[in-house]
Symmetry: C2
Subunit: 246 residues, 2 copies
């Protein structure tokens, strides 16, 4: 099995991470020279990875991707088991669980935000989630290589397992809930559960949640895009963490 990784950021981050096995990297002869392309070439040489300058036409079979003249054939993302993740030491750790995110752009953008916010892992259910493919990797700007991704069969069982290890469950929910900034995110390990764009977090998960939080709006418009909502909440936890360290 081989994945296609395309675009400068995604290829560079996959290279840097050291988590992927590269088969080869194809670079269009007509690509604009740039610092990132040079960094990719230098890293490939250093790691003994085959790279080829090739005529633009030879990349045409990848034209369904917005590849910016660079395509890499790479081993798939490695997932980590929940038990292996829990076996690490955790203090004020944070997990984001996605409950039914089906849009690849959103998923990629969420992963990027999670890495910037120092989130420790992302839990994704096997079903009702878009596949982790090239689109997701590109939309994450390669961030997907820098965070533990845990795939689970049953989100419910995962939450029950986490609760047993004293993780707190926080679910984002539009109604009857606390404002997200009234929760103290410090001094606990927590799982923030974000629901699908339309359906929200499923009822069975809401029942298990220790906190239900909402983002208060100043205008009564349907709702935020899920990746923006996640960014607002998770960076509130970053704000609180940085303020507590002053």
């Amino acid at each position: 099995m081989e994945d296609i990784v395309y675009g400068r950021n995604a290829v560079l981050e996959a290279l840097k991470s050291g988590n992927r096995t590269f088969n080869k990297i194809l670079i269009s002869k007509s690509v604009h020279p740039s610092e990132k392309i040079n960094e990719i070439i230098d890293l490939s040489k250093e790691k003994g990875i085959l790279f080829q300058f090739t005529a633009k036409e030879n990349l045409s079979k990848y034209d369904e991707y917005n590849h910016q003249g660079i395509v890499a054939l790479v081993s798939p993302i490695k997932f980590i088991e929940l038990e292996d993740f829990l076996a690490k030491e955790h203090q004020n750790s944070r997990i984001v669980m996605l409950d039914g995110i089906e849009d690849g752009q959103n998923l990629g953008s969420i992963i990027r935000t999670c890495v910037c916010a120092g989130v420790d892992a992302i839990i994704i259910p096997e079903r009702r989630t878009c596949p982790i493919n090239s689109t997701v990797e590109k939309a994450s700007a390669g961030a997907i290589n820098h965070i533990d991704i845990i795939k689970v069969n049953s989100p419910i069982s995962a939450i029950q397992r986490l609760k047993k290890s004293d993780w707190w469950i926080i679910a984002a929910e539009a109604f009857e809930s606390d404002n997200y900034y009234d929760v103290n995110y410090n001094d606990m390990n927590f799982v923030l559960v974000m629901g699908a764009e339309h359906a929200g977090v499923s009822k069975s998960i809401l029942k298990l949640a220790d906190f239900k939080i909402k983002i208060p709006m100043l205008k009564n418009f349907n709702s935020l895009n899920v990746s923006n909502a996640l960014s607002i909440i998770i960076f509130e936890s970053v704000r609180q963490k940085l303020l507590s360290e002053r």
Copy 2:
């Protein structure tokens, strides 16, 4: 001139706003019945707008759009002049200015966040911005009908004009700047300037800024998507506003 608006949310919000003239609405006979489709039909009847149920094939010329079986032919978005906007009364008002956002998905998503956050207007330069088209309208989930959009020839002149009327200029910039949560957003009219995904806010605008702010990251990864960065900053101003009203 006529715009195509497609998808349930975008068509419904364009209808609700009352700001657009509808030529007609085409609904695929095979569309799944839903509350939103019913609302669209009821509103069309109420406003005397022509709607047609049509065979799926007749919508095929719109298949480049992800139209979910509904397409409307509508007058373009109306822009507002900066002077007309400034003539209104402003107290603790907020403008978002976009400096070179070229991705339609990002632009749509930013507009949606701005509406949820109660932002008063969005300023978009004529050049170096993607056109306000169907993709943007769809990505905004129709939010674009619920906020003043100001197109300007020169962002610099617009900023100088705003400064004359005592608006404060806040530019998002990754380096050498204050943390975004250390600014007091209350008690002033402000313009938040967000830069392009790669280039950031242009130097000439940074020179005019009263505050330069950054989002501190917990992991040194390249950066946030611009729409997520905007969401984090603008909802910090919402948080401060709501806390000050307690």
